[in-house]
Symmetry: C2
Subunit: 301 residues, 2 copies
């Protein structure tokens, strides 16, 4: 094997196959759209199958592969983090929060099903995430207890929800850079970092591998968000596939607004470098994770 | 021991001691009110410590004792179900749902903290429930996996949330008795039944004991709700400690409304009898569970 060169990795193909596997598993894990009461299951499925990029599941599965694992034990956890992510979007979009009418070009959950059902659909997906995680097989090195704790902590009031609260409370006032970083760490990095960690855990990764994945996930999450802020300023709506300049129009605190475009690019480059550095221990055995990081951090939309 | 008569059981004292233990544990499990961001932790604590009766924790702890268990391994699970119950109340009270301004004589969460924070405080308590359950010790007979599944299923879109959806969708139209029973089974019985089951599981109960607790919990839950409906019609607001006749005023489907007061009493008596029957296998070793059931099912407010 030592002399066999790794063939060029086809990320597009890998992502398509993985997304299909995740979608099939989600379809299997979620109650049918006809299950009584149908409204709630239709609402859950509406947002789960609304064309999300499945970025967290992809990172989770890529991390599993990087640690020598297979897809099967990782797949339920990939579905669990996607349920958490989707619930957080449904609740974030509510009138009492960001008040968004559209997401990924489709009407948001509460615009279709009403606010009451949207709150409950989010609740149901959050609960479903833990059910799915509990359903999955045992992993020799990591217990269900550790897996559930990982998901609960990343999604809880000190992480994901803390980010949303700080975001809500930061509206309409000038944030400092540490405050903005605090929000990004929690709103984006926490669940992203948990995703790559869960992927590693599903593959019985070593403590050293888990540490490397943690550094990777944390920095990818932060870099991803800074790049998002930059793209909102520099790209056209057409290229982004969503309304560009939305942050500026909403006077939202962003890196370009706080430190300027040039310094924002420098910060993004630093975070990106740290993320790639963290992958070094995996050498050439993590093609999917490397290619994904490259795609997320060098993207133009 | 065989000749020692069980002394008269003092339920009041038992409930007071247990409620104090649950409150102390909840205070320990929840992030401090000063933990950043303080708003969310204040909001979580506001509703958790708003004077709830701790009925589910009490039933859980009483079931643990009935199965020969101690309080310690049951306490985290008692806190977890109380977090689930409290989250469901916060979300139920939202303007998009029941739109209640007061609960237990205090302004509801969203009246104090605003709707956005109330949604997030509910989300945080739901997530916290799973964290607390995962934190607890191992039980020889039941795994963390079974414990998490028990909580997730009772709270999910086919049970607790299903009940809330059916309740929302039933507003303003006449329900049939089976439809009303469907709502009660899910809104009340599911979590109540899970509570007594979790208590048994924490005490490494036998499968036969678990079956008895399931029958007990299911029937107590249904009976409790029918009795609630009856008391709303027959008691004064003063005696209830909340607005009496509220169901009638809201033209809400209730047992007295659908089948009349006399038949409602018959149904309540039947369910109560089934609940007490289910306790027979515990004989005289379940004084707290028996006394609690007696209190809940023979109550006048």
């Amino acid at each position: 094997m030592a002399n066999v060169r790794t063939p060029a990795f086809n990320l597009n193909e890998w992502v398509q196959i993985r997304a299909l596997e995740v979608d099939t598993a989600l379809d299997r894990f979620l109650p049918k759209a006809t299950a009584k009461p149908a409204t709630i299951h239709k609402a859950m499925r509406y947002s789960i199958f609304a064309g999300g990029k499945r970025m967290r599941p992809a990172l989770l599965l890529a991390a599993a592969e990087a640690c020598g694992g297979t897809i099967e034990p990782a797949l339920p956890l990939a579905c669990a983090v996607e349920c958490i992510h989707t619930y957080s979007l449904i609740h974030d979009d509510l009138p009492a929060m960001d008040n968004d009418d559209f997401r990924r070009g489709k009407p948001t959950n509460h615009k279709v099903f009403g606010e009451g059902i949207a709150v409950l659909a989010g609740d149901a997906l959050l609960t479903q995430a833990f059910e799915i995680a509990a359903l999955s097989d045992d992993w020799p090195r990591y217990s269900h207890r550790e897996i559930v704790l990982e998901i609960a902590r990343a999604s809880g009031s000190l992480q994901l929800i803390a980010g949303q609260v700080a975001d809500l409370e930061g509206e309409g006032r000038d944030l400092s850079v540490p405050e903005l970083k605090y929000i990004h760490e929690r709103k984006t990095s926490a669940l992203l970092c948990a995703s790559v960690r869960l992927g590693g855990m599903s593959a019985n990764c070593t403590p050293a591998q888990l540490k490397a994945l943690t550094t990777f996930g944390y920095n990818v999450g932060l870099a991803f968000q800074v790049i998002d802020d930059i793209l909102d300023v520099t790209q056209t709506s057409e290229k982004l596939g969503k309304t560009a300049g939305k942050d500026v129009a909403a006077q939202k605190a962003t890196y370009p607004r706080l430190v300027g475009l040039e310094k924002s690019r420098k910060i993004a480059a630093q975070l990106t470098a740290r993320a790639f550095d963290a992958l070094k221990p995996f050498k050439r055995r993590a093609p999917a994770l490397e290619a994904l990081a490259h795609y997320l951090l060098k993207r133009e939309n």
